[in-house]
Amino acid sequence: MSKRDIVIAGYSETAIAFKSGRSAYDLAGEALAKLLAATGLEKDAIDGLAVTAPLSETPNPFFAVYMCEALGLAPDWLNYGGTGGCSATGGVARAASAIRDGLCEVVVVLSSDAPSTSWKANYGAYRPEFQDPQGVQGPPATFGLLMSRYHHQFGIKSEALGKIAVTQRQHALHNDNAYAKFKTPITMADYEKSRVIADPLKLLDCVMFCDGANAFLVTSEATAKKLGLKKMVYPTAYAEVTNFNGNQSCPDITETGFSKIGPKVFKQSGLTPRDIKMFQPYDDFTIAVMIQFEDFGFCKRGQGSDYTINTDLSITGELPLNTGGGQISAGQPGLASGGLNLAEAVRQMFGEGGGRQIANPKNALVTGIGVIPFARNWGTSAAMILEA
């Protein structure tokens, strides 16, 4: 990517709600309307759309087409993202390629989901025969297995994971979009006594499925200026990998795809971990955040606990972390999740962080994670660097 020709020139988010009673279409409509209001863009200027496969509508293979109908859009380019929490950053990257190829000029990357209102997904495949009988239905059990292995190999200090949970909760207090029930501070003692879901995973290590949507305006710098758009950030690096180590029967499950793509995005952008002004990592579970500190080179492999404990991760700290509370403390809007971390990065870089604004938002590292497979690390890893 590394070129400064494509920009994110607008973003919007709905509030995160639990059992909102609304659909992915309705939430998407709110996100689109807010994006148009924020940017002054005419709807019919949009000629590209990237959407994310939502848990709440996945039985419909034509969800993306239905979304165009719902929103009155007639795009020349349509992308249907199926990498879960990587679909938002992945959508921006794919939009950039499509714009460079001349397929479209003005793209909206739109993610919306309402799994706490209506869960319709069925992962099917091998799971009914080879994973469900053992009782491993959801990510918590799989993350319990992953954490146990990480602890065995490197050791986990509970106060490190607790610090991630407490810090992000503190940040969510300044986030008007965060799920209302999460807008109370938590202490390390609350973390320590929160109940165990799947050893050693605790309740306060986990996200909660909610409903919500987010949208991004992606176009070329030239078109953005022509449209009179003033605020823009440049996605200068992007990389993703799916089914990392997937051609091995016994890979080290503590090794993630980020170990491969982290160096790639730094190389593309010419930045180093020390240059990063804020880290907005995909945070389905606290351990995923800690492992990402290692894989992106903020510390060495296996030193995630000590790094977490010794680093100020607050909005005024050396590496501001998930400054809107992340998914863990703002609520996870289903598979629109990856857009939450991305929206926070863009908001900060636009200087619109309000009570949680960081001082020098000249770049951001944003990541995504998609699905937890059988006895492996996570399925897709994606990373994007934004620069002012």
């Binding site: 099917g124 495949a125 091998y126 009914p128 025969e129 080879f130 994973q131 469900d132 009988p133 053992q134 009782g135 491993v136 239905q137 959801g138 918590p140 059990a141 319990g144 297995l145 992953l146 954490m147 146990s148 292995r149 065995h152 109940r195 165990v196 879901i197 799947a198 050893d199 050693p200 995973l201 997937g246 051609n247 091995q248 029967s249 016994c250 499950i253 059988f374 006895a375």
Partner: protein, 144 residues
């Protein structure tokens, strides 16, 4: 469903790939796993091709059922198919054939299961005529 034990669904074979050998084996107390004939490696769960080569030159071979706990957790919160099973010990076992499988530990207090413990194949009865591979912890060369 009268056949259900503790509300656990009975898996329907061969919905993803042909797994008749796995289920026939289970009926006879044998753990049958997919084996790539080109590379001499096992893979699990079963796939439509070898994950090593992409070919369909696969066969089913019996596993010794002996292995080592690679990762472990204890599920403590209710969910589908978990009625009456909590706390539930779940382990990723690295079988001696160098392939991993997720299973439940049947013979030990879930809190006592640890990475590195040796395990051997055991069978978890899901219904009167369906049993599913699970594991027992082995101590000093014999079942605990």
């Amino acid at each position: 469903m009268a056949d259900d034990k503790q509300g656990r669904p009975i898996p329907k074979p061969s919905t993803y790939v042909d797994t008749a050998a796995f289920w026939d084996g289970a009926k006879n107390g044998k753990l049958m796993l997919q084996y790539c004939k080109d590379t001499g490696q096992f893979q699990h769960y079963p796939k439509p091709v070898s994950i090593f080569t992409g070919s369909r030159n696969l066969e089913w071979r019996e596993s010794s059922g002996k292995g080592t706990v690679y990762a472990c957790t204890v599920i403590r919160v209710p969910g589908p198919g978990l009625d009456g099973r909590l706390p539930l010990s779940v382990v990723t076992v690295e079988l001696d054939e160098k392939v991993r499988i997720i299973g439940n530990v049947l013979n030990a207090d879930p809190d006592s299961v640890k990475i590195g413990q040796r395990v051997e194949l055991a069978w978890d009865r899901i219904s009167d005529d369906v049993q599913y591979p699970a594991f027992n912890i082995v101590e000093d060369g014999k079942a605990a």
